[in-house]
Symmetry: C2
Subunit: 437 residues, 2 copies
């Protein structure tokens, strides 16, 4: 089999090796490079494996006892997976790390659940280590009765658990300046997905007793920047959750431990982490994060505020930037699609720069405001190609082109909420690159 | 709010403290014990929080910068969650740890996804650390053409990802001797759930070309015990997956890295880990794991072999053994239900030892052969009570009582595949205990 190489998987392998190169394991790269003499996947080719070799194969690990487990130690990935990790941006030079972010290696994520250890995060003043026994949440402002809750108080209520994606409003932001991002982790890695568990904030607001004039709600964090956002009361009373757990365990410190707001389908920065205060008012606060940041420049010279919904978007993760196709043959094209307005209805894939589109297969469960994986089998005949995906959500909204977006708002500068169709180019020798014009 | 204590959450807290006691943090226990003067959850009681206190509340963490992230370090839980971990059995004394197992803290798991770092595991000769670049899978026996695959070869194929529970055939085994297990982690912790990603084994068997007489398939591991099982060809050709990933990343070493068999709904031990060999035959191998182990004693004196399906089962995880109810009031009863034969159709909960049953609420997504969470609100009037859950699956099979099981097979000794209705007793003072007669 070793003379047979599937382009997509070797693509992964080349990415794999690129990662290892960072850790200077050149030997691995060279060894795998020797396998790069690919061929298409055909049944006949499998006859390469001799029966004798098959019968005689023995594993060294069969001849010795393995490690004793350490059940009381939290389990970790294999030492051979150390190249799979979050990464800082390669595009922007960050002079300090108090206000920082790290990206998820979505090209190395199978399925739709992002492991908590690889979940993207963005913070404005570092990550506080909060003792849950000393943490409190206060609800005040335009309510009949201000309330104060300990974590134990909050965990008394009936919880809900939902699978939802989380995306930073600035995901893909830097790439529309110029095609700087070399991998999909760099271009789209401010995206993750988890099953979130917590208490509907409507339960607590009902107990506090809303003033009939209440229209906006402030969510404030217990971090050094006291990051806060104003949220319309409607979002709070429908599906906003005070989340204390993700993917079957308490939140990770960098993701808001012990408590954060979670607003399905909305930009990550309104899902305030290390949540300590909720204040009800009849108007928004117009905070720095609502004027100088997280806004959209419009053609009339004004800036659009409070555009928190992350609209329908998709991206091809395999093959993607940094991978190599190993000559003409069969390729599995894979990626993620998601929408802050509902579920993913369909995904189309083009391999000729948008001239023709083919409907991809969606893998279930296809859930509301959750990552959905799509797959499309492609016969690459060799020669230059441009591949991209286009998602349609349950509201029939179609993921726009950059030109479509440009008709509604400026697409230069730091473009928030950029959900444009994202292309990868494939060169004649199989190299995959960011193909933004 | 601190004078108000919700029984269930304090139950968690008492378990929490019990865990901390193991790490000898008695101070924490005493501090939280002081909170145990509970009362029922009522809206009026919330007026305890003074508005002034609410307005003046300030967090210490708001006054300082937090930690800088280390994006290249795999993320870990908060230091305040160190009590949430897998544990060895407290019931059986294991004289060595080559053949061993550790249990998932399911009473501390929100949602249906078990974090990989807490996923239960059982091994027969320790955990090997296999280099995926050197690992190979061989398919031979009654096939037209024996095949040999590298991990890169396997990852060339179109993958599937499914959410499925995994349960050890011996889960709850020891508890039916005598009520030794003090917590649900000890009684039912050989149970976890993940989204599994891999290649359908049918794809590879089709390429190898099955002999028309093929009826059984051997799956053999690369561990020191070369653990192996015989599996009917039908299971292989329907839904058996060669899994290389779980919950969005490659398998953990103790869960079979880099490759394992996964058979949805079947006992964990047939999902052979560190998979290195698949051999096709016209009969089963009758290995030690199919004669001396993983079999069921029947009334006629014979032993039932190859009963790999984990039938419909459920258990209440909150409140459960080791927790404390804090006086009469409102309680959220929660637990898991699952079935190896399909999806969970309904769960009934009793709080009076089976005299009356109430239909619990199921939380979606309710998936095929996957953990499903149920919830039921209970008004405890005080005094002794016995609580239990009873699940019904999509085939209308009803989780049996111990008496029902005893009609079909012996329920003494090491009882494999025990899916009996499991009771917890609540004493007058609110103490929750294993209530097996």
């Amino acid at each position: 089999m070793t003379h047979l190489v599937h382009p997509v998987s070797k693509g992964i392998c080349s990415q794999y090796d690129a990662d290892r190169l960072e850790s200077e394991q050149r030997r691995t790269f060279l060894r795998n490079s020797a396998l790069f003499t690919g061929a298409a996947l055909t049944a006949s080719a499998f006859s390469a494996a001799p029966a004798s070799a098959a019968k005689l194969a023995v594993s060294q690990s069969n001849k010795e006892m393995g490690r004793e487990i350490e059940p009381e130690a939290y389990g970790m990935p294999s030492k051979f997976e150390s190249h799979v990790k979050r990464r800082r941006t390669d595009v922007l030079k960050n002079k300090q790390h108090w206000s920082d972010w790290s990206m998820t290696p979505i090209h190395q994520q199978p399925g739709i659940v992002t492991p908590n250890g690889l979940f993207y995060e963005r913070h404005h003043a570092g990550t506080p280590d909060i003792n849950p026994d000393e943490h409190a949440l206060v609800i005040h402002g335009m309510v009949k009765q201000p309330l104060k809750f300990s974590m134990n108080d909050l965990m008394r209520y009936r919880a809900v658990s939902n699978f939802n994606f989380m995306e930073c409003s600035g995901n893909t932001l830097t790439d529309w300046q110029q095609a700087k991002a070399t991998t999909v982790q760099q271009s789209h890695g401010l995206l993750s997905c988890a099953q979130w568990t917590g208490v509907p904030v409507s339960t607590l607001l009902d107990e506090a007793g809303l003033d009939p004039a209440a229209k906006w709600v402030l969510f404030e964090g217990a971090d050094g920047s006291a990051h806060a956002r104003s949220v319309p009361i409607e979002k709070c009373m429908t599906d906003t959750v005070l989340a204390y757990a993700m993917n079957g365990e308490m939140l990770r410190p960098e993701n808001g431990y012990p408590l954060r707001a979670f607003m399905p389908g909305w930009e990550g920065n309104v899902c305030v982490k290390w949540l300590r205060r909720i204040k009800v008012s009849d108007k928004p606060w117009h905070l720095r994060s609502e004027t100088a940041r997280y806004t959209d420049p419009m053609p009339d010279g004004k800036w659009r505020q409070f555009s928190m919904i992350m609209e329908c978007k998709s991206v091809i993760t395999r093959p993607s930037g940094g991978m190599m196709l190993q000559g003409p043959g069969t390729y599995e094209i894979e990626g993620f699609a998601w929408s802050g307005n509902g579920s993913v209805k369909a995904v189309d894939v083009t391999t000729d720069g948008g001239v023709t589109w083919h409907q991809a297969d969606l893998e279930g469960p296809v859930l509301d405001r959750c990552l959905t994986r799509f797959r499309h089998t492609w016969e690459w005949k060799g020669g230059p190609a441009k591949i991209a995906s286009r998602a349609v959500d349950s509201t029939n909204y179609v993921q726009p082109t950059v030109a479509d977006i440009a008709k509604q708002r400026f697409t230069s500068g730091f473009v928030q909420h950029h959900n444009g169709i994202f292309p990868w180019s494939v060169s004649e020798n199989g190299e995959v690159k960011n193909a933004i014009a």
